[in-house]
Subunit: 429 residues, 2 copies
């Protein structure tokens, strides 16, 4: 039976925790087969099983102090292949025809930036041929083949989400379903806020701000790709059938609530440079040096110097695991009289597309935190987000207070069920 | 510096035990770098690490009762890729440029018989390009790509030896060095015969007979390929520098001793069919049925029936792990009145190119075993081999007696050093 062109095409992506154990693989296989038997054509993208990517990276460190990036990609790419071939076997046992493809076989063409390659092209001929042949197609996530040297490349953290979204875009899929161990995107982390609600839909822009400010359901890069190519994402649980959270273009969402969610991050660190020379171009030199060192800077604050001869104070925040690289990089520059660091900071943010037209939101955030005697150390805003740096040990209280102040736990069209006790954090690869 | 055309080209192959642990990988990397620094161009073929192929196969059985062969190949092929990428990293740390290639990237083109593919072609363009670019080329053994569907295939047991020999043939290498955990090929298993001697050279034909009759240093199929393409093999230890055993065309060996080695196998089983119908074509049906069931039959004996109406007796030996499949296959045929099996048998063989012109060898074998009161249950011969089936528990005594009777432990041009205590059995993949 050849698949007809009228059938819906769905891309499903299963994260590492959804294929970790044999029973997980069988469960994923069952979901894929169910989607096929509902009449869809199915392409499924799989991550490596559980911690297997970490285990492969550990093997590399056992034989080399500085593993060659090209060989690291050859090594790391096997994890997703293992998951895909095992899942194809399980699908066969359920009576459907499946075929697993490597990133290269699936036509994921990238540049040659090993360990952090960018997708340049998706050549879907082979996938389309297999779909027309009534196969379920499984694609190894996180990897591709470089256009010039035909070497295996990997896409870096969050790569499998990006593979799924890129395939959904190239194939014109109706939806890209991202299966994880959480039920969707919540109005706050249910571990901190027991009455946090699962959101039924939100916009790409909101999801981007949430991903950037601590929500770990979807990777930033995949959401950007989805927004740029108009791919609808459905984040859902691989453990239950209920719908999860749809991520859509803003004009598809039904309403724009003032605030959609509270997110937080406890993995921040701050660097303060004192006595920075007050000359044109100094800030540019500092931040281009940090970029060259692959340090992602989040917030930046510079105070005008009171006495110009003493220099200015400049503070910025980075992810805690990049702190050491940041300090080493700026120390070499020798542009400041002192460098202090603070690893006891966290960040709490509110995100909402409706904020754009409501100027009072920031004031309400500051008041709410003030009532809790939580000191705001840094502030950054976008049209749909307000982030505050606070002491790390005050983050939980800040999240709870903001969630309550903006009534995110109350019933609303976009906020459905209370979070279950089974909530676990998810890490995508 | 580009590699000049005058340089010697050597293909080196490292088995699973030679790359099992991080230190083993570093040792293999050291050997490869040493060969390069001696001025050779180097292609190295690696097996999967230690037991990793078995572990991958176990994963498949966890998710499927009957794993799809195409997906099994996708799964199993990752083991050699892991070994190659890790070894390339270790080589980089030693200051040489290495690149790892999958079987497909290395141009190993096979048929589509998944899990037991045959090599159809070796397209060496990419390897030659990398060698010309002064790289050490590492190739994942045991695998290729199918010519029609561009799927990953595996070559079955012993596949990495075959990969190495096929590359040596296609590249016109001066020698194919097979590194294992034994020092070479011995005149008998040193665990049974303490004064067994390492052979400095032997012919392809002798090696073929030895591989077929129990010696496990080299895989039969790789030796056949080497003989057909005239590839010189050097079997040697990855743990020490001394030369091992050269396997050459017979006209290159310096002399033809009567007997070169005693080999044995304790993994035999015998099937006896009684009352087999005495009609033309019956034996043909039995053995073609066994072939269809993938059972390799070794020796066959049929007795002419004394009373034709009672039928004939037919016995044959198979590897013990194929016994069940053999019995199931012939039971369905319903051509015999009874089927008996015996798993307590073993086989002892003597191999030697000089046997061809010395008819008295067989008599001496039978006498020697008779003096030890070892009953010979079946006999098979080739121009350069005599094999006897004996009771499994008499195999060690038979090996010792034959080794002594033919004076294989004495000093001779082709028999060098006594075996060390470090001898361990090797399994190639």
């Amino acid at each position: 039976m050849a698949a007809s062109q009228e059938q819906n095409l769905v891309v499903m992506k299963f994260g590492g925790s959804s294929v970790a154990e044999p029973d997980d693989i069988k469960r994923a296989a069952g979901r894929i087969v169910a989607a096929r038997e509902q009449g869809n054509r199915v392409v499924a993208v799989l991550s490596a099983r559980g911690k297997s990517t970490d285990e492969l990276a550990a093997m590399a460190r056992e034989v080399s102090d500085r593993p060659e990036p090209r060989e690291m990609d050859m090594l790391l790419s096997v994890g997703e292949r293992i998951a895909c071939s095992l899942c194809a076997m399980a699908i066969h046992d359920l009576g459907q025809q499946a075929i697993s493809l490597t990133g290269s076989q699936a036509g994921i063409v990238t540049d040659s930036s090993h360990t952090k390659a960018r997708i340049l092209d998706v050549r879907t001929d082979r996938i389309r041929e297999k779909l027309a042949d009534d196969r379920i197609v499984l694609v190894a996530g996180f990897q591709g083949v470089s256009t010039d040297s035909r070497d295996v490349t990997t896409l870096g953290r969050g790569g499998s989400d990006t593979t799924a979204v890129a395939l959904a875009a190239a194939l014109g899929a109706d939806v890209c379903e991202i299966y994880t161990d959480v039920r969707g995107v919540f109005s706050a982390d249910p571990r901190l806020v027991p009455d946090a609600r699962k959101l039924s839909m939100l916009s790409f822009e909101e999801m981007l701000e949430m991903a950037a400010s601590g929500a770990r359901v979807l990777q930033l890069r995949a959401v950007e790709y989805a927004r740029n190519h108009g791919v609808r994402i459905h984040c859902r649980s691989s453990f239950e059938d209920a719908p999860g959270t749809l991520v859509l273009a803003e004009d598809e969402t039904m309403e724009r609530p003032l605030v959609t969610a509270v997110t937080h991050s406890e993995e921040e660190a701050r660097v303060t440079m004192t006595g920075v020379r007050d000359e044109p171009g100094v800030a540019g030199r500092i931040f281009s040096t940090l970029a060259d060192a692959n340090v992602n800077v989040d917030m930046i604050i510079q105070n005008e110097p009171v006495e110009p001869q003493r220099g200015a104070d400049l503070s910025f925040t980075v992810s805690r695991d990049e702190l050491e690289a940041a300090v080493s990089a700026i120390r070499v520059l020798d542009l400041a009289t002192g460098i202090q660091t603070d690893e006891r900071i966290g960040k709490v943010s509110i995100v909402g597309a409706g904020m754009r037209s409501h100027p009072g939101v920031a004031a309400k955030v500051f008041e709410t935190l003030g009532e809790q005697a939580i000191n705001i150390e840094m502030i950054s805003t976008s049209p749909i987000k307000i982030s505050c740096v606070v002491a790390a040990d005050r983050v939980p209280a800040a999240v709870k207070a903001l969630h309550e102040a903006f009534e995110l736990g109350a019933d609303a069209v976009r906020r459905e069920e209370p979070a279950g006790a089974e909530h676990r954090p998810t890490v995508t690869s």
